[in-house]
Symmetry: C2
Subunit: 101 residues, 2 copies
Amino acid sequence: MEPHEPDLTDVPVTTVLAALADDVRLQIVRALVENGEAACGSFDFGVSKATRSHHLKVLREAGLTRTRAAGTSRLVRLRRDELDRLYPGLLDAVLSTRTSA
Amino acid sequence: MEPHEPDLTDVPVTTVLAALADDVRLQIVRALVENGEAACGSFDFGVSKATRSHHLKVLREAGLTRTRAAGTSRLVRLRRDELDRLYPGLLDAVLSTRTSA
DNA sequence: GGCGTTGTTCGAGAGTTGTCGAACAAGGGT
DNA sequence: ACCCTTGTTCGACAACTCTCGAACAACGCC
């Protein structure tokens, strides 16, 4: 099946914001910023793999990530360039949050 | 009752993002940016006044707006200075969205 | 081929959210 | 005092979301 990775300009801003408005997904995004491309399995934040897969789908369909197959794994990376071009400052603002709060 | 307007630093970033991740609330924020302080009743975006009151409550409890009584009306204003200080670029990025998409 | 690893998909359940009408509260004007 | 305007609050209902285990698919390896 097609990964269904929409052009970011086709995604309503509310969808982008909603995708970022979740703790697990925010941890995924943070990990992607720090480590770059990573396999789905590396995002073990206390949720099952079904839930993890769901969150990655939400991020992907919001236009925030790209996924490519690599053997039995799937590598995910942040579409940071496009994100920064369309919403300059958004990602930095979101990521500026300290661990708590 | 107390307006319950938390300090923005006490609000999780996911709550702030969730507050902005709604079309009606985004229209309210846009109107506040353009017109400054405004009465609740001025935000007629095709929803009932009960719904409007609900959305204003979400924005207020996310630390995004302040409300003060003025006669029978209540005037709402955006806490833009605090928002820009804590999340620089966030509001501009969100508001940069054109009408569609 | 068979097995293990890695992810996705499919219900299903609990919880949250957006919406409304109706009832209520507070103020101002006449 | 009465009424009208302005908002809030209270159920209620539909829709969506997060979560999980179980079943399935795809790939590499022995």
